[in-house]
Symmetry: C2
Subunit: 134 residues, 2 copies
Amino acid sequence: MAVLEDRGHRSTAPRRAIIRFLQGKQEGFTAEEIGRELPDVGRATIFRTVKLLLKAGVICRLNLPDGAPKYSLSRVEHHHHTVCVRCGNVGEFRAATIERLMRAIGGDIPGEAVGHRIELHIICNQCLLEADSR
Amino acid sequence: MAVLEDRGHRSTAPRRAIIRFLQGKQEGFTAEEIGRELPDVGRATIFRTVKLLLKAGVICRLNLPDGAPKYSLSRVEHHHHTVCVRCGNVGEFRAATIERLMRAIGGDIPGEAVGHRIELHIICNQCLLEADSR
DNA sequence: CGAGATACCGATACTCAGTATCAATGAACC
DNA sequence: GGTTCATTGATACTGAGTATCGGTATCTCG
C-alpha cells in the first residue's frame, strides 16, 4: 500500500484509487480496464502510475500470444505466467528447476545473461469445460 | 521462397520483395524497418505480408523487454529467443532440456498446456565490449 | 492467348497502447 | 499558513496494427 511513498513518491488520490482497485484483482488487467473502472482518473495518470508500479515491482507486464499487453499483480518476487490462449486470463507459477536450467543455458550462450521471461500457454480449466459442453 | 504459393497465396511483386529482403536478415527486424528499406511497398501490404509469413511459420514475433514488437526469421521449427536488453538484437537458441521441463511443468498446472514462449535477456558481446571501452 | 473472377494492391482513415506538453493544483515540509 | 515542486488532467502526438475501398494484377480456364 505504501509502495510509492517508500520510493519517495507522493500519496495522491488517483494513485491511491488505482492501487486500491488493483488490490482485489486476481486475474490480469489492462490499462484500459483501470480507466473504465476509475473514470475520474485521467488516462495519462493511469499510465504514469502503472509505470511507477512496474518499476516498484508491484505489478508486471506481459503480452498475450497475439501481442496484446496485459498487467498482473506480482504476488511473489520472481515468477512466470500462464496465459490461457482462449480467454486471456493469466496466472503465476514458480519453478526452481527452471531458474537453475536458465542459468545453465545462460552460460552456454554468447553474452551475459541478465534475466528471462517465460510464458506457458494453456487452455484454462474453465475454457476446457466450456469447450466440452458445446 | 515459395512459402506463400504453397499455401495458396499469390506471388506478387511486393511479397517477393519483402521475402527477398528478409532472406538476408540475420538479426531481428521491425515492420517499420521493412518499410524503410522498401519504400515502394505500401504500409498495409507490409503488415499483411508479415501476418501471412507469421501464419506460415516463416517468421516469428517477439517482444523486447519493454514490449516493443520485433520479428525474426524462424530458422529452426521450435526455438526460443535471446534478446539484448541494451541494443535489442535478437538471436535464437534451442534446448531440449527446456522442452522436457516445460512439459513436466505443464502437467503440474491446472488446465491443458498448449505451448510456451521463452525469452532470455542478455547483454550481447558487442554491448559488453562497448561498455568496457567507456 | 484472351478474358474474367477475385486476390491483392496502395492510400487513407481509423483504433489502441503509450508518451509529451503544459498550465493548474495540491502534497509535503518548514 | 506559505512555498515549492511533484503530480494532475486535457490534449495532442507517436507507433504498431487494422478496416475500407476503388483500382490493378494474378491465376485459371476456356
